[in-house]
């Protein structure tokens, strides 16, 4: 666990931890020495000349006081290091988030990241104060006592020396079993938490189909599985815990019996026997606290490992000698992409089939290209590769003639502006959310972005206008309003390349139609890549690319493709049919 602590603290945070460890080790050893000095003290008091006790008593008192001082410093230091740990960890997690590729932040990882950077860091904070100290003293105090015993009775010391590895092995074995069981239990808890959320979120549909708690078997199965995993933990974990406790009691009983028999055969004096028994009780007491700290240690170690794993993720490679794009054109040459084992989402990695395969196309400067194709064809991946959210597995993406991997991150962001279907707004006003794109934009630019995106009509409808608070994640706005905020901020950024990934899915017909016109006009100024389902947007493109199963199967203008009679033509035909559809009165 100490290794993991150093790992997550990094070089900047390790010095206070060094100091703390020195304090804690010192306190633990001094405690052992103080307990050991009780032996000569007690031997003197039980012996014929009690007045011999004073030098020993002085030494004992000095050690006990020194221990108390160090212990006090260690407790204070534990809190200091704890709060330092939270500062350093929060900052390191935040720094790491900046270095990681945007593609790393999948839904699952985002949730995990926020859990780690939020609650988990705070749980870890208490480790130095509440776990590390008992852990260190449960190791070093007994070790000191065993060594000290050699000065009083070699036989007793040898017995302890033989027992120590046994106790250690029992404890380690029990911990290992518990750790394995914890993993199974964690999985069961995650599954049942997931089912509980599913159950709560899906109440309308579950009820509409007559499925409440009794009917939703998956939930009950998950709850039962969780209970079973707990039972397994009790049944399989208990033997380990009992055997450690049994082993410590056995050591005590063994030495008590040996001591009494050695006394009876005259090889051990009464004062030494009694003072060694006092020492033995201290030793057993110190060792037992190791078992008590066990559960907390396992959880802390687990959390630290997960934090370490995120902090050790390799950062996105940045060019050593960055080049600047010559213009706003985009070129994909033989681009392939598949999720790699380590870096991809677990779900997609399992599929392990290429998402994109030999994709080659060119977006000329100041032109509009539409990317169409069924869901899952890889359209969003094309957009993500263009903005270098991820790196290609094969082929090259070039902007203005330069490989995106050779463009500095800031320069690349300045060149590409994106709007996604999933809109993220932070808790603030509409204006703040739009202005993150360009904090210094003047009122004219803001008004123009609002007019183009249709946000101006939203602003008019809202009583607080630009100052409207959007709420957490934009929850106070409707889907269509949120989408227009995100379009407006992408326009305000005024990058030469604009990527719209199903940017209008949540807009109603009127706004969508108006925006489609605005987009066409933008193509005079920008390179546009539009991923769209609505053919009303698509028909106006200079170039249409049809993506199916990760390959480009057709390309051309609307008229060309309709005439060709391929996939696009059948899309178009279906679309026309859908538009002509009517819900007829049912025959009675």
């Amino acid at each position: 666990m100490i290794r993991q602590l150093y790992g997550v603290l990094g070089p900047e945070g390790s010095r206070p931890l060094n100091r703390l460890l020195v304090l804690q080790c010192g306190a633990a050893v001094l405690q052992g020495v103080a307990f050991a000095l009780l032996v000569p003290v007690l031997r003197a008091l039980l012996g014929p000349r009690p007045d011999d006790v004073w030098p020993w008593l002085t030494a004992f008192a000095a050690c006990a006081l020194a221990h108390a001082l160090l212990q006090g410093a260690a407790i204070a230091g534990g809190f200091t290091v704890g709060s330092r740990l939270s500062r350093v960890l929060h900052r390191r997690m935040a720094d790491q988030a900046l270095r990681l590729p945007l593609g790393w932040f999948t839904t699952g990882r985002t949730a995990e990241f926020s859990r780690l950077a939020g609650q988990n860091v705070i749980q870890v904070m208490s480790t130095p104060a509440h776990l590390l100290r008992p852990f260190i003293s449960s190791l070093l105090t007994p070790a000191t006592l065993v060594i000290a015993t050699f000065f009083f009775d070699v036989r007793t010391a040898l017995v302890l020396l033989v027992c120590a590895p046994v106790l250690f092995a029992v404890q380690a074995g029990s911990s290992a079993v518990m750790r394995r069981l914890d993993l199974g239990r964690d999985a069961a808890i995650a599954e049942s938490a997931d089912r509980v959320l599913e159950y709560a979120r899906n109440q309308p549909v579950l009820r509409a189909f007559g499925r409440t708690a009794e009917g939703h078997g998956a939930l009950d199965d998950a709850l039962v599985a969780e209970a079973r995993a707990d039972r397994r933990l009790i049944a399989r974990g208990l033997p380990g815990l009992v055997s450690f406790s049994f082993a410590t009691r056995l050591v005590f009983a063994l030495l008590l019996a040996l001591g009494v028999s050695w006394q009876l055969d005259g090889s051990l004096t009464v004062p030494t026997l009694l003072s060694l028994l006092v020492l033995l009780v201290r030793l057993i007491d110190s060792v037992s606290s190791a078992a008590e700290a066990g559960a907390g240690m396992r959880i802390a170690r687990n959390t630290l490992e997960r934090l370490g794993a995120v902090l050790d993720e390799p950062p996105f490679p940045q060019p050593a000698e960055p080049k600047t794009p010559r213009d706003g054109s985009v070129e994909f040459t033989g681009v392939g992409f598949r999720y790699t084992e380590g870096g991809g989402d677990p779900v997609d990695a399992a599929a392990a089939r290429p998402v994109l395969n030999d994709v080659t196309f060119r977006l000329p400067e100041r032109s509009m290209t539409a990317l169409v194709g069924p869901s899952g064809a890889g359209k969003t991946t094309v957009a993500a590769l263009l903005a270098r959210f991820r790196d290609t597995t094969e082929g090259t993406v070039r902007i203005g003639g330069v490989d995106v991997r050779e463009i500095a991150a800031d320069d690349l962001t300045a060149h590409v502006s994106l709007v996604f279907q999933d809109v993220y707004l932070f808790d603030g006003t509409i204006e703040e959310n739009v202005r993150i794109a360009a904090p210094d934009a003047d009122a004219g630019a803001l008004a123009e972005a609002a007019a183009l995106s249709g946000l101006d009509r939203v602003i008019e409808e809202l009583p607080d206008g630009w100052a409207t608070k959007v709420g957490e994640g934009g929850a106070r706005l409707s889907g269509g309003q949120r989408q227009r905020v995100s379009i407006a901020r992408a326009l305000l950024k005024d990058a030469p390349i604009l990527v719209l990934d199903e940017a209008t899915a949540a807009l109603d017909q009127e706004n969508e139609a108006l925006f489609a016109t605005a987009v066409r006009a933008l193509a005079d100024r920008k390179t546009l890549l539009v991923v769209a389902h609505r053919l009303s947007t698509v028909v106006r493109a200079d170039q249409i690319l049809v993506l199916e199963d990760g390959r480009i199967t057709e390309r051309g203008t609307h008229d060309d493709l309709v005439a060709a009679g391929g996939t696009y033509a059948s899309f178009w035909e279906r679309r026309a049919r859908a538009h002509g559809w009517r819900l007829a009165a049912a025959p009675s």
């Binding site: 307990f35 003290v41 012996g47 009690p50 006790v53 108390a68 709060s83 935040a94 720094d95 900046l98 990241f113 926020s114 859990r115 950077a117 939020g118 609650q119 049942s192 997931d194 159950y199 709560a200 899906n202 309308p204 549909v205 579950l206 009820r207 509409a208 189909f209 007559g210 709850l223 009691r249 005590f252 009983a253 009494v260 006394q263 009464v270 009694l274 009780v281 201290r282 007491d285 069924p374 869901s375 962001t413 993220y424 932070f426 993150i436 899915a505 017909q509 009127e510 139609a513 108006l514 016109t517 389902h533 609505r534 178009w572 859908a578 538009h579 819900l583 009165a585 025959p587 009675s588």
Partner: protein, 606 residues
């Protein structure tokens, strides 16, 4: 038709069987209430644990007696010593056995309690009004069912027994020490008393601080969630630094609070730990003991029991701090759980009535989510069997709310909704769901196989029936293209597109075959390929049913039997398309607006 029921009969609280005494104000013992079924076993565990704690002290007493015998004037022989050694060993084993049994028993009792509580919560949630769930969020449910029940685990399986141990063992130890020497016995209480005093000083104001700590942790979590979900957007605008700053600022605020808190209590809490530390307690006892022995007030052997047991007397203070936190956390969790369990459910009818036919009738219906502003106001509406009724109107006019009253997602605030002459509130839930189906705009698929998702309303349906409905919903071909066909698990390896999910939900409704169907016509997210198929599927679904359609596109419902225009929760117009158009009212305005939008959309295509 059933007469208007009395007001009191509708009081949700009085008709909730699961909530005896609900609404009577504060329930002072939520913990007691929750542990009911396992209290017997917990009591046995507590008993065993006290035996274990007492037995745990006995070996030390036995060693003290050995010391006494060994230092007696007549040297001890094996016959007097071995029984004491045996006693020490036996007592140690007894302590181990009883302690293990107590722990196992408490864990098993808690295990049963957890499952029972989670099931009880799930059942209760299934009967809560939906409004309550959406308004408080699903986070509350997850908190209660998972986190709070787990907090109770810590309390019952660990804290309870720990507390018993730290309270009983010192009592026996102290009693024995008093019999050895009263003066030194009194001295050995001093660290404990000092510890209590210092600890209570450290804890002064801790409740307020703990509350602030909890709030600070909440803020950090919220900041972390915002940071993680927003980082991609911020970075794509080249403003990653800004998000970074926001998050780091929030965490600095927390670290400052924590440092301040630690500083104010550090001295007293450190002192509280130190005065009960074994080395310090032994220092006190040894120094005084040495004085006593050298002065001849005490024999050396009489000092031995104090050195053996003295640290154990003071030890409880060392563990009591974290336990107090756990007890508080457990109590708070129990309060939240009982609150949820006492939340009034949708009342089940006292005298169930079965509908006669499928005519839906709304009379004077008003509805309010918050009890102040009406979302629906005095709505009268008839849905005759075999007809299509379309609800149109601007967003926010109450269309979805009105539709949600039919499957009784909410109960009306005033007026009545009847199906086949029976008030919805008098129809048993299972009977109602069999008759009223619902295809929601926001399609929800469960993490289950495709087949089970379709079977949702009729778990016993055969594979042939499922396939027939999937074909009718135009989703069969897509399903057979999935890796495992109908057995493919959704939500893990495979995610369906919005349009596919919608067709699957239509297949589900087809299989459930309810005669009355509420349909949210929403195809906004569908790609054109899906859109055409969805509308084919909807046509299949509409045949022969009583249909209420929430319409977004007027062209779709042009030929409905009746079009109802809702504005601000009131029905302002109703009739057939041509009549409404001729009347030149609100509907005509909406129709013309959409026509021109369509022209813009299709303009360059023609």
């Amino acid at each position: 038709m059933k007469s208007q029921p009395s007001e009191t009969g509708r009081d949700p609280v009085s008709r909730t069987p699961a909530a005896p005494g609900a609404g009577t104000g504060a329930r002072p013992r939520p913990l007691r209430e929750l542990t009911g079924p396992v209290r017997g076993r917990l009591a046995v565990a507590v008993g065993l644990q006290s035996v274990a704690a007492l037995a745990g002290v006995v070996p030390f007493i036995a060693v003290s007696e050995i010391a006494d015998r060994l230092t007696a004037d007549a040297p001890a022989d094996g016959d007097t010593l071995w029984p004491l050694v045996a006693l020490a060993c036996a007592a140690g084993l007894l302590a181990l056995a009883c302690g293990t049994a107590a722990g196992a028993l408490a864990h098993l009792a808690d295990n049963d309690l957890q499952l029972a509580l989670r099931r009880r919560l799930a059942r209760h949630i299934g009967r809560l009004p939906l409004g309550r769930l959406t308004e408080r969020g699903t986070g509350e449910v997850k908190q209660a069912v998972q986190d709070d029940v787990s907090a109770l685990h810590t309390l019952f399986a660990h804290t309870l027994l720990d507390i018993v141990a730290v309270l009983t063992a010192p009592l026996l130890a102290l009693a024995y020490l008093f019999t050895v020497d009263l003066r030194l016995g009194l001295v050995s209480v001093v660290p404990l008393l000092l510890g209590v005093y210092l600890f209570s000083r450290a804890m002064a104001g801790a409740a307020a601080q703990m509350a602030e700590f909890g709030a600070a942790v909440g803020r950090i979590s919220a900041a972390a969630v915002e940071f993680a979900s927003g980082i991609a957007v911020f970075k794509s605008f080249g403003r990653g630094r800004k998000a970074h700053e926001r998050f780091v600022d929030a965490t600095e605020g927390f670290a400052d609070f924590f440092s301040r808190w630690v500083r104010t209590t550090l001295v007293s809490s450190t002192a509280a730990v130190l005065v009960v530390a074994p080395a310090v307690v032994l220092l006190l006892l040894t120094v005084l003991g040495t004085v006593f022995v050298t002065q001849g007030w005490l024999t050396g052997a009489e000092l031995v029991p104090f050195l053996l047991l003295g640290p154990a007397v003071a030890a409880p203070m060392g563990v009591v701090g974290p336990r107090i936190q756990q007890i508080r956390a457990g109590q708070a969790a129990a309060v939240r759980i009982t609150e949820l369990l006492h939340a009034p459910t949708l009342p089940e009818p006292a005298t169930p009535v079965l509908p006669d036919g499928h005519h839906v009738r709304l009379r004077g219906v008003s509805f309010s989510y918050d009890g102040r502003t009406d979302v629906l106001h005095d709505v009268d509406l008839d849905l005759a069997p075999g007809t299509v009724t379309a609800l149109v109107g601007p967003s926010g006019s109450g269309k979805s709310t009105l539709a949600s009253l039919l499957p009784r997602f909410h109960d009306v605030t005033a007026g009545t909704v009847t199906l086949g002459g029976a008030d919805l509130r008098d129809i048993p839930a299972t009977e109602l769901y069999r008759r009223v189906g619902f295809v929601l705009q926001d399609v929800r698929l469960l993490r289950a196989s495709v087949g089970d998702n379709i079977r949702l309303g009729r778990p016993e349906a055969t594979d042939e029936e499922v396939e027939r409905c999937a074909r009718a919903a135009r989703i069969h071909d897509r399903i057979t293209a999935l890796p495992d066909g109908y057995a493919t698990e959704l939500g893990t390896a495979v995610t369906l597109s919005g349009g596919e999910a919608q067709r699957l939900s239509i297949a589900r409704a087809l299989l459930a075959d309810a005669p009355v169907l509420v349909l949210d016509e929403a195809t906004a997210y569908a790609d054109p390929h899906s859109e055409a198929l969805i509308q084919d599927a909807l046509s299949a679904l509409a045949a022969g049913r009583t249909l209420l359609v929430i319409a977004h596109r007027l062209s779709t419902v042009r030929s409905a039997d009746r079009i109802v225009v809702l504005e601000d929760g009131r029905v302002t117009e109703q009739g057939r398309h041509d009549d409404l158009l001729a009347a030149g009212g609100r509907y005509a305005t909406l129709w013309n607006a959409q026509r021109s939008a369509d022209d813009i959309r299709e303009g360059s295509a023609r």
